[in-house]
Every structure is written in structure tokens, then in C-alpha cells.
Assembly symmetry: C2
Homo-oligomer: 236 residues x 2
DNA sequence: CTCTGTGAAGTTGTTCACAGCC
DNA sequence: GGCTGTGAACAACTTCACAGAG
């Protein structure tokens, strides 16, 4: 149900690397490894062990080593991993070595919040434009990003390569907006609308649904009766 | 790395049901089934087949049937599933039959956007309170929800059972806020801060990280060179 | 002795294919 | 005929446990 694979169908052997297959579960964890590595780097910690990384993200050392081993051999036995080097390798693997261009459609509250989110820029994602169908919003700037009308999308994006289209419109507009983004040449979709959308084969897609996450939490709460009286001791 | 299991450790056989084990991947898909069922219900469609549900969420019919079969036998052979009944069963299974109480910590832009998100209420989640450490925000109301100071948390929540604490504070405050929520008796955590947090055993936890999702998309774009010239035909 | 990298074992999840009921 | 429910086959992922490098 999640992202389409995004792999070009018949590219068995690229010239880039040996590139054995990397499980998608592994790909999903790499951004989290990267996040703790950035923190370690800020603290000027030059080396880290798989055990330490595991502790920080709540996993286990074998998992960390296995995940990293799918990408290459970056550690030193008896020593650990060089933090800046590992950051470099992960960034390279994830394709975030150069600035990625993104656009956002739907300048409502969530859209505005995201436009103001500093994490985009910090992580190498550059907001090129925003789109909405509300004439009051069109022509304004939100967090420094110009808002265009949705009908202008193809024109505005004519000369730009957009890597990711972020969709923050109401459910009933989501599929239309996704279709427009694809038509305008946008290469992948991040959908926040609480509605499944379909994309053509080969277009990577991810969905973030807050309500779904909360329902999953709700499930885990079943069976635990009511308010905890004596909170469990905090670890750490 | 994701949510703690949330299962009370030694409760092999509850009296509630036969309750065979439901894979967590299945639990993760149920909210999406529910979402398309709500849509079908709004269109007054009384019956649906596993094939149709699968099409709508981009899965396959065997997966849908298998998932549903972990919970019970809700379909009729040769006919399909009764939409309202299946909704009822899924809601029951997910524990969203009664209102869930939630609080939010961090009334910044993202927090404000979430407080205004109508999906909470529509899906049976009731915002009881919000917290921030900014004196300018304390005492105001955002989207009808009163903002308290973080130090007041234990007091404010003394008599309430809070099911989910939503964390939308900056990274460096995330662990502190989570610890406070746990101390105040909050039963589970939904973390939006781009920082792993740890919780005691038995406290369900989920994380939503936008940057991570975008990095995963970025990975899938690697290898596809540049702007698509001729967009693939839209399906549907 | 420490910590990585990795086959092999073990576990979990998905797909197949068909019996069973409408 | 149509569609569910489900063992059994298959595939993916995780954990173990240890060889090998520093």
C-alpha cells in the first residue's frame, strides 16, 4: 500500500556500484540513522559503534550493522564507524547530496505549517513554489514562497525539475491535484490528504496520515484498562 | 524501531476473544481499509468485495482477505462484505468505539495546524488541552483548545485519562516533554519532533517524520535521470 | 579484547490456489 | 458463476553467532 518501488523496471545491473538489493525496511531506517549521526556530529563525536546507534534509535546492533552492510563496508573492526564519513555515505545513498526541489499544493493550515517548517531547508529540500485555488492566497508569499493558482502549475513548472510534490489539500481534491502534479512533470508525491491516491507506475509515492497513526495507537491501548496509576519508571 | 508493542507482557490469554495474533503490518493497514469504507458508506454502497477494497488502496485482494480474516469472518462467500458491518467491526478492533482523549504539546505552527485539523474530531479524537512554554501563548485558546503552561501538565491532567500525547515541540525539547507526558499519566505518544525519543516499556509510541519520508522518496528518485519528458499515461 | 561484516537459522509477512458457501 | 476464508508455498526480514580485522 505504501510507496511504489520507484525502481526503473529493467535495470538489473547499474554501472554505479555492486548494488545488491537493499530491503525497503532498511531504506526506511536510514534517515533515522542519519538523524542521530547529525546529532553526534554536532557534539564532535568522531566515532560511533553499531551498539550506540542502536541505543539511540531503539533498535539493536545487529540490525544496524546489517542495514549498513547492504550499502557498503564503512566501519573498522574493533573500532566503529567514522561519523562524518558514514553521514557522507548515507547522504550519497539516499540521493540527498544535491538540493532537491519541492513544491507544495494546498496552502491551508497544514500547508502553511509545512511551508514554515525549517527542516526542509536544513535537510537540503528547497521549496520552489506553492499552489492553491483560493484567489485570496494566490499572489501572496508564505514563508518566502510564492503562491500560484493551481491552473498555473504547468506554466510555472515548465522550466523547473521538481523532485517532490507535497499534497496538503482536502481529501476530495487530492486525486485531482496529484494528477496535475504528474502532468506538470513532478517526479514523486508526498500525500498528507487522508485519502489514498493513485499514481502511474514508476512514480514514487508516500502517504502520511495522522488519523491512521492515532488509530494504530488506539489499538495498542485496547486491553490496557484506563489511566495508569503508578507511571512506570523512566529509563535513560 | 517503531511503536513499542503495547501488549501487556504476560497476558497470553485474555478472556475477551479467541484473539489469534494479528500481524502488526495488518494493524497498520486497517485504518486505510476503514478510510475507504467510510467513503463507500457515504456513497451508500452497501457491499464491497476484497478486490474492490484492494483497488482503492492499491493492494491485492488476497492481502485484504487475509488481513480481515485475522480479525474475524465478516464476509459472505459469493457476495462480499457488508460495508456498515465491516466498519463497525474494524472500529471495534481498533478500539475507536468510544471517544479517545488527546493532548498536544508545542503550540507552534505545526501544533496550531494540528489543533485546527478537523480530522481529529471526525475520527473520534477529542482534544482536551494543549501545552506550551511560551507565556504569550499560555491562557489563550487555539481552535477552541485552552493552552496551559507545560509546568501545569500534571495538575491539568490530574482527573483526566489521556490516551494520546501529541508532541510537536523542537527536537531538543522532545525527550523532556515525553517524560513529562508519561509522568502525567498519558498512555501513549505520537511524536512529530524529528528526533527519536524513548518511552518506558508498555507505552505505545509512534513517530511521524516528514524529513525522513522525503529522504526515502529521494532515494527512489536516484537512478531516474532528471525531469520526465513525456509523463506516463494516467491510470484510473 | 573490541567491534564489524555476514552466512545461516529463525521469524514474520505475502501470495497462491483451491475448498466451501452463496 | 462469484467471492470468501485459509492452509501451504514462498518471500522478506531479523536475529544469531562467529570468523576476521585492528
Amino acid at each position: 500500500m505504501d510507496a511504489k518501488d520507484g525502481e526503473t523496471p529493467g535495470n538489473g545491473s547499474s554501472k554505479r556500484l555492486k548494488k545488491a538489493k537493499v530491503p525497503k525496511t532498511t531504506v526506511g531506517r536510514l534517515p533515522y540513522y542519519l538523524r542521530v549521526l547529525y546529532i553526534l556530529q554536532q557534539s564532535n563525536i568522531p566515532l560511533v559503534s553499531s551498539e550506540e546507534v542502536a541505543k539511540l534509535i531503539g533498535s539493536n546492533s545487529a540490525q544496524v550493522r546489517k542495514d549498513l552492510s547492504y550499502i557498503g563496508e564503512f566501519g573498522q573492526r574493533g573500532v566503529g564507524y567514522d561519523v562524518p564519513n558514514l553521514i557522507h555515505e548515507l547522504e550519497h545513498f539516499l540521493g540527498i547530496t544535491h538540493l532537491r526541489h519541492i513544491v507544495l499544493v494546498g496552502v491551508g493550515r497544514l500547508g502553511t505549517a509545512l511551508l514554515n517548517y525549517p527542516g526542509f531547508h536544513e535537510r537540503g529540500f528547497q521549496l520552489i513554489a506553492a499552489f492553491d485555488n483560493d484567489p485570496k492566497k494566490v499572489g501572496t508569499k508564505v514563508a518566502g514562497v510564492t503562491v500560484y493558482h493551481i491552473d498555473e502549475m504547468s506554466d510555472v513548472l515548465k522550466r523547473e525539475t521538481i523532485d517532490i510534490g507535497v499534497v496538503t489539500v482536502p481529501s476530495d481534491a487530492a486525486q485531482f491535484v496529484v494528477d496535475e502534479l504528474i502532468r506538470a512533470g513532478v517526479r514523486s508525491i508526498l500525500n498528507f490528504a487522508p485519502m489514498p491516491v493513485s499514481v502511474p507506475d514508476g512514480i514514487p509515492k508516500r502517504a502520511m496520515c495522522i488519523a491512521a497513526e492515532m488509530q494504530i495507537l488506539s489499538y495498542h491501548l485496547k486491553g490496557q484498562r484506563g489511566r495508569r496509576k503508578r507511571p512506570p519508571a523512566l529509563r535513560r
